[in-house]
Amino acid sequence: MTVSRDDVLRVAALARLRFEEEDLERLAADMNAILGLVDQLDRVDTAAAAPMASVLPLVNAFREDEPAATLDPDDWLRAAPWREGPFPGVPRFVEE
């Protein structure tokens, strides 16, 4: 499988990224170089191996649902570009 310039544009749209026109070929080449390394996985016999997402057993870690102090909205909103009341503000994109 080879990543083309069009593939780069398609994946960039999925990832909400944008690249300059002159960088597209280079990025496709980089991705192909890395996928070239990855292609060796085809030579590994994995018929007997289940996919491993984590080294930990995949069981839910439940806890009691007890009320406790949490982050103050005023605190975390200080990290926002700006705030509007109890929310992070964003520019208006729709007409009223």
């Binding site: 990224l17 990855v38 491993m52 997402a53 930990l56």
Partner: protein, 494 residues
């Protein structure tokens, strides 16, 4: 007095009234002022806060209060660990001005133990890299030769510890980011078992692989720091509930009867012959101390790097989706719609390597490629893990090089992605299996430090630390001062 001493010596000095925590903090800040222009270990310095913390320790001592185990000891945090009220940038333009509203658990525990934070250290942006050259701000120099890289991604932490700017620092390790820079700068770096240390407040890169751990100049110092940061955290559901043993008493110096396996594959994989022979000589030292050494094989290891470059980018592409410019971080101006606000904020905020990995991760997770790449890599991960399980059934520890090569020159690998990625060939398999591993200095090649990696069973940090400590005690000749810090050796001894 010297900020270069070990934790126990400095703690004893303060307890005996030889010097105060404030004096220690001032000395460390002076060293940073002298050295950091050449090293650039730090992204942010916190001198006022450090002096206030140190003064609080001194006052508590005067009042006769019981002090924490790390009280008054100057340290630093990798800048991907959240600190309430202090910039946490991940060395990214996306978080250049980000001040988190909460603390990482590992830092909370250190602070409660009396730690004095001098600042936040440089890293490859979002911990993606092996040289700290991917920082959006500036590269960090290696104290052994500032024209060379300190390794990465915890390069700022490693350089700060190696040069004596701080006594210890925390790093994070997703594919070798604690151990490889520790090896390249001649310090000790420990990646604990996945889940041993809470990841709460560690900015996520690849969540199934990330782990927080210490870098220090001695094994005992690593043990003392691990003691404080290890343990279950209700805020991280992947942190392990297992009890934390006392690590310092395990530093007995005795490795008689310890079974050490030497996986032959780890001496291929582009390992420099001089590095290989120093590591083999190090293993011989352990054998001379009574360890039982034998060769072994981890056949799937050769494919671990390939599996990692599917799994880590896949997880990263998901984790970094949050940097959209809405709730926090860099926001672009002037977009026509929300979609463009996201895209332009990400375009401007994220660097080339981060974008490359997001692209790769998005690609391998996209329709038509998920089975061929992502599921296949997960299956290979299971085989890598099974290899370790089998070998560690026969052996207590495995020994290998930490990094295939010594520190390379800045810019040398910039145009060669795969060669850069190879820097983690010996460390990445350990992350896939979630095991603990430590890097200890084992000699010098062309004047640059080399690291010996020891890999242990799940939660067997005590055994790792015992072997590393015995090795360190038997090889005092590898405890050297970088030329840049020369003339300030006083107190460097343990």
């Amino acid at each position: 007095m010297s900020s270069l001493g070990s934790i126990d010596r400095l703690a004893a000095g303060m307890a005996a009234g030889e010097f105060t925590a404030v004096e220690l903090a001032r000395e460390a800040l002076d060293r940073i002022a002298t050295l950091d222009g050449r090293l650039n270990s730090f992204v942010t310095l916190t001198p006022e806060r450090a002096l206030a913390q140190a003064e609080a320790v001194d006052n508590a001592r005067t009042r006769g209060e019981t002090l924490g185990p790390l009280a008054g000891i100057p340290m630093a945090l990798k800048d991907n660990l959240c600190t309430r009220g202090i910039l946490t940038t991940c060395s990214s333009r996306a978080l250049k001005n980000h001040v988190p509203p909460y603390d990482a658990t590992a830092w909370c525990r250190l602070e409660a133990a009396g730690a004095v934070l001098l600042g936040k250290t440089n890293l490859d942006e979002f911990a993606m890299g092996s040289s700290t050259e991917n920082s959006a701000f500036f590269p960090t120099g290696n104290p052994w030769d500032p024209g060379r890289v300190p390794g990465g991604s915890s390069g700022g932490s490693a350089a700060a510890v190696a040069s004596g700017e701080v006594v210890y620092a925390l790093g994070s390790d997703t594919g070798g980011s604690i151990r490889q820079p520790a090896a390249l700068t001649g310090v000790v770096g420990l990646k604990p078992t996945y889940g041993r240390v809470s990841r709460y407040g560690l900015v996520a890169f690849a969540s199934s692989l990330d782990q927080v751990g210490p870098l220090a100049r001695t094994v005992a110092d690593c043990a003392r720091v691990l003691q404080v940061i290890a343990g279950h955290d209700p805020l991280d559901s992947t942190s392990l509930p297992a009890a934390v043993p006392d690590y310092v008493p395990s530093l007995t110096g005795d490795v008689r009867g310890l079974k050490i396996g030497v996986p032959t594959e780890y001496f291929g994989m582009g390992v420099d012959p001089e590095v290989a022979s120093l590591v083999r000589a190090g293993i011989e030292v352990l054998a001379g101390l009574g360890a039982e050494v034998a060769e072994c094989s981890l056949p799937t290891t050769a494919h671990a790097l390939a599996a990692y470059y599917v799994l880590a980018p896949a997880e990263a592409s998901s984790n970094l989706a949050r940097y959209d410019g809405v709730s926090y971080g860099h926001r672009a101006t002037g977009g026509r719609d929300l979609e463009e606000l996201y895209t332009r904020s990400r375009q401007e905020g994220l660097g080339a390597e981060v974008k490359r990995r997001i692209m790769l991760g998005t690609y391998v997770l996209s329709r038509g490629y998920y089975d061929a790449y992502y599921l296949k890599a997960q299956r290979v991960r299971a085989l890598v893990s099974a290899d370790f399980e089998q070998a560690l059934g026969r052996f207590d520890l495995l020994a290998s090089p930490t990094s295939p090569e010594v520190a390379f020159a800045r810019g040398e690998r910039a145009g060669d992605l795969l060669r850069m990625y190879m820097a983690d060939a010996c460390t990445i398999p350990v992350n896939l299996a979630g095991l603990p591993a430590i890097s200890v200095p084992c000699g010098f090649s062309r004047g640059l430090p080399v690291g010996l990696q020891l890999i242990g069973r799940q939660l067997a940090e005590a055994t790792l630390l015992r072997a590393a400590h015995a090795y360190e005690a038997a090889t005092p000749q590898w405890r050297r001062v970088p030329p840049l810090a020369a003339g300030q050796e006083r107190g460097w001894e343990t």
